[in-house]
Symmetry: C2
DNA sequence: GCTACAATAAACTGGTTAGTTAATTAATCA
DNA sequence: TGATTAATTAACTAACCAGTTTATTGTAGC
């Protein structure tokens, strides 16, 4: 469950702002490589490589429409990311519980 | 929101099974470097470096207790990961809705 | 077949990562 | 002070990553 190469690939793919921006664009619908590249001050091959990283991580699926290779978002791996992170929710929420405890103690001490 | 170096660092830190295993161990409570290293077939300096990566990503905080440098989990960055992934929940859940649409269209086309 | 456009591949560079072994620092204890 | 233990630093290697420019592939349309 912990040694999960799929999760390695997903997290690695997400560890880059350009790639997260590409996913955000695809959340609004299908796009060609040129359309995806347009907002970035970066060469087309660079974007092409980012797309390949996302595709290898299973976050993008592609088709063929004439010369175009339309990209579609596949969010399934993000569900795994969400599931993984949720394991730790009780810990980041506990912080506040503990904070409450501290505040409660302070209050009691003050009232003494 | 998308170009977020903090998120870059967090995802990069999580893109490694050894580091995720270290976090899983720390979810059960504080541990020293040697305790964290014990389950792995890897040199101590290698683990020390993994810990530093996690620390730089803000996922671990450390203290000092005699010779020991106890590690504690800080789950706050994981909340950001969770929040980020949740943006896409409607998409991975929508898949079935769209599947329904496609099936509906197929049915209509077949009936023509 | 030629031209134009979309996209990828090849070859290269500089910087980073994951690991190693050997040396070093820091704290405890006798 | 000297020995022991915990942990990090230094120096190194092999592999990988993000970007570049140039060259190539694949498809459409004339």
């Amino acid at each position: 469950m912990i040694q999960d190469p799929q999760l390695d690939d997903t997290f690695a793919a997400l560890a880059n702002g350009t790639r997260r921006a590409i996913l955000a664009r695809l959340a609004k619908g299908q796009a060609s490589v040129n359309e995806l590249a347009e907002p970035f001050d970066m060469s087309l091959p660079a974007i092409s490589k980012h797309i390949k990283v996302l595709e290898n991580a299973g976050l993008i699926e592609r088709g063929r429409d004439a010369q175009f290779r339309p990209c579609n978002l596949n969010a399934a791996p993000l569900r795994e990311v969400s599931n993984w992170a949720e394991q730790y929710r009780h810990i980041w929420e506990d912080r506040f519980d503990r904070m409450d405890t501290v505040l409660q103690q302070l209050k009691e001490e003050t009232n003494e």
